[in-house]
């Protein structure tokens, strides 16, 4: 998996203090100057603190397995936002794109009695189409992505509620297709070949791994991904270089929609129902994971591994503070404080790197 920030922005020449010695640059960055290393250090430190205070933080069945399932969803949600952050755009319709996709999956299971994978494909298709629609509107009207996706989110909110009221007796599909319950509750540890059983990793985890790898490969190695990043870095320069900017914008939004579809499907599987409330709390986490991980809001640079680490950091903080059993108000304050401390530590590492003349 590509493990560095993928960027087409010019590798800015360091201003004063003096640039790093040429031989150091040639060797690449020292390991500690990599932003992802800072995040890993913060995550490791928090795990050590939380497990010291509450040994149950390391309880496999009650802490580590559910945490992995949560991270699975929030990594994909983060990637959905990352796909458009690459352009310097935003997708405020992440929650409802996920909800509509989950509806599509639920519909195929409940009404068409389709197998699990067909519903997944339906969710991905619907997500992609809605994402492409958002990209198309942004391209054709020239209206800011913030406004377009916000309006789309409102529209889809009503549509999802209407669709559920038309096709279900309430606000959810009750049918669970074959394999859904196993996918939700089993880990590889539940399956054994003779005496050897798999690791305590939920069955849904590989799905997020595939999404991470595909998005990572796309932005790191493929022409399409690099061109999307160029559009995010400088749309005019990209256009003058012969890149079809409009098409790339639509494609990036379609990718975002596809990942929303996957996230909605995963959340429905994890929570056990394809309901209208799927995705309603996706918006903040969708920004949190990529931005914590080093993806720029301005576009042109994304970090897929950073998004994974951002999602892990967020989940570790939530889980640790939950185990410490704070009251609701205290919990919110501590989440804010821990996030600030975590980011400040990263900033300290940045400053140190700058002083030594190496720029991450």
């Amino acid at each position: 998996m590509p493990d560095t920030t993928t960027s087409t922005a010019s590798q800015a020449e360091p201003e004063a203090p003096a640039p790093a010695p040429v031989d150091q640059r040639r060797r690449g960055l020292p390991w500690w100057a990599n932003p992802r290393v800072g995040l890993v250090a913060v995550v490791v430190a928090l795990v050590a603190i939380f497990s010291g205070l509450r040994p149950s933080f390391l309880d496999v069945d009650l802490t580590l397995v559910p945490m992995q399932a949560d991270i699975t969803v929030f990594v994909v949600v983060g990637l959905a936002q990352l796909a458009v952050l690459s352009l310097g755009h935003m997708n405020l319709a992440v929650p409802r794109m996920a909800a509509l996709s989950a509806f599509a999956a639920g519909f195929t299971y409940d009404k068409l009695h389709a197998p699990l994978v067909v519903g997944l494909l339906a969710a991905l298709l619907v997500g992609t189409l809605v994402g492409a629609l958002a990209g198309g509107i942004i391209t054709w009207t020239g209206v800011n992505s913030f406004v377009v996706t916000l309006a789309l989110d409102f529209g889809l909110l009503g549509l999802v509620a209407l669709l559920y009221s038309w096709f279900t007796s309430g606000v959810a599909f009750s049918l669970h297709p074959d394999g859904m319950d196993a996918l939700r509750s089993d880990t590889f540890n539940d399956y054994c070949a003779g005496p050897i059983c798999g690791p305590p990793v939920p069955l849904v985890v590989p799905i997020a791994v595939v999404a991470l790898v595909v998005v990572g490969v796309l932005f790191r190695f493929s022409r399409l991904g690099r061109e999307i990043l160029m559009c995010g870095s400088n749309a005019r320069a990209a256009l003058l270089s012969g890149i079809p900017v409009s098409r790339r914008v639509i494609q990036a939004h379609a990718l975002s929609g596809l990942l929303c579809g996957l996230a909605g499907w995963l959340l429905a599987i994890n929570n056990g129902a394809f309901s209208a409330s799927v995705g309603e709390n996706f918006l903040l986490p969708s920004f949190l994971a990529p931005v914590l991980g080093g993806t720029l809001l301005a576009g042109g640079a994304v970090s897929v591994v950073g998004t994974l680490l951002g999602a892990i950091l967020n989940s570790v903080i939530q889980k640790g503070l939950n185990l410490l059993q704070f009251e609701v108000d205290q919990l919110q304050i501590y989440i804010g404080v821990v996030l600030l401390v975590a980011l400040s530590l990263d900033r300290v590492r940045h400053v140190l790197a700058d002083r030594r003349g190496v720029r991450p």
């Binding site: 606000v171 959810a172 009750s174 054994c192 070949a193 400088n234 929570n271």
Partner: protein
């Protein structure tokens, strides 16, 4: 300078192949499924002192505050090991699952849960039971006909909404325009309330028209106040009755109608001080109160009984914790009626619903 490095296609294909093989290996890892031991140990056979009850509402809401005291009282009265009240779920099912699992990791072994999403909560209940925990669905039952928890002790929301709408129609003199204010539209409890109100309107034989059902205004008091202000400004004089089936809209409607000096009849829900004051001064016609104390107290008691070896005669039984119409006539005495219902509930579990052989 813009650097766009485009790798050879062969390299991309290589990466994709490795990814594909890894995925195949991961999915092929399972050959036979084994039975997993329950993380919470045996669900039964504990002493009362070993039972640690966690009462987990869907998020912070005034309705659930009596659970705190009810849990503490249950601990004292029944000799429970521990009780706690945790409202940090933030109305997010994923977070609630996380909170419950965290409490389980901390040693809590019996759960009284108000599920954020009635459509999803059966899956959470099933998981917990598989892991050896006792589970009760409190204040709300799962959507559909199945309850995967040991029992559900809640207000029958459809019946409570029906009673409230009946009271409103009676206060309106049996005719006129009625508005229904309620909570989250994509919550199946709201759908049940809508059905309850509609049933009462249908029974009025066309003399009462349900002109509007306003949903999604129970998030906080401000949004409810805004919705009430908009409603009264737009059609205040054309509305003869307002029935509310959620806490914040009830408080907002009681205050809004009184402030505007309209003759609109308001039937509220729950017993916030504003509402009770409104009933006393006549600006609120009636309110339908529920029994959160009974849910927390009797819920904890039954969880203890189940953990110490009793079983439900009918697993998943739904028990109505009671709803009470409060008017000016009984505003001073309704709590006695509610306490009597709580005592009655505990007795009904002991004699009719539990099997403790």
């Amino acid at each position: 300078m813009v650097v766009a490095r485009i790798s050879p296609h062969r390299r991309t294909r290589g990466v994709v192949a490795v990814v594909g093989l890894t995925c195949l290996a991961l999915t092929a890892a399972g050959c036979s499924k084994r039975a997993t031991p329950a993380a919470g140990g045996s669900a039964t056979g504990k002493t009362a002192a070993q039972v640690k009850v966690a009462l987990v509402p869907g998020g912070p809401h005034p309705y659930f505050q009596p659970w705190k005291g009810a849990g503490v009282q249950a601990k004292t009265d029944f000799g429970l090991g521990e009780t706690t009240f945790n409202e940090t779920s933030g109305w997010d099912q994923t977070k609630q699952n996380d909170v419950i699992k965290s409490l389980a990791a901390q040693g809590y072994n019996a759960f009284g849960i108000f599920g954020v999403s009635p459509d999803n909560i059966n899956s959470t209940f099933t998981d917990l039971e598989k892991q050896g925990f006792q589970v009760a669905s409190l204040a709300s039952c799962p959507a559909g006909n199945k309850n995967a928890a040991a029992f559900c002790l809640s207000t029958d929301v459809e019946s409570a909404a029906y009673k409230a709408a009946k009271a409103a129609i009676e206060a309106m003199g049996g005719k006129g325009n009625l508005v229904h204010l309620t909570g989250n539209k994509v919550d199946s409890n709201t759908q049940r309330r809508i059905v309850g109100v509609q049933k009462a309107v249908d029974e009025a034989g066309g003399k009462v028209v349900l002109v509007q059902t306003i949903t999604d205004i129970d998030v906080d008091l401000q949004s409810a106040q805004k919705a009430v202000a908009d409603l009264l400004a737009a059609r205040g004089k054309d509305v003869q009755g307002i029935v509310t089936t959620a806490y914040n809209p009830a408080v907002a409607a009681a205050a809004g109608v009184k402030q505007a000096g309209l003759s609109t009849k308001v039937v509220a829900i729950d017993d916030d001080k504003t509402i009770l004051a409104g009933i006393s001064d006549g600006s609120v016609s009636a309110t339908v109160t529920q029994n959160p104390v009974g849910q927390g107290y009797v819920g904890s008691y039954v969880l203890m009984k189940l953990s110490t070896g009793c079983t439900m005669k009918q697993p998943g039984l739904v028990v109505d914790s009671g709803s009470f119409v409060v008017t000016k006539a009984n505003v001073a005495t309704y709590d006695t009626q509610r306490q009597a219902r709580t005592t009655e509930l505990k007795k009904a579990f002991d004699t009719d619903y539990l099997s403790c052989g």
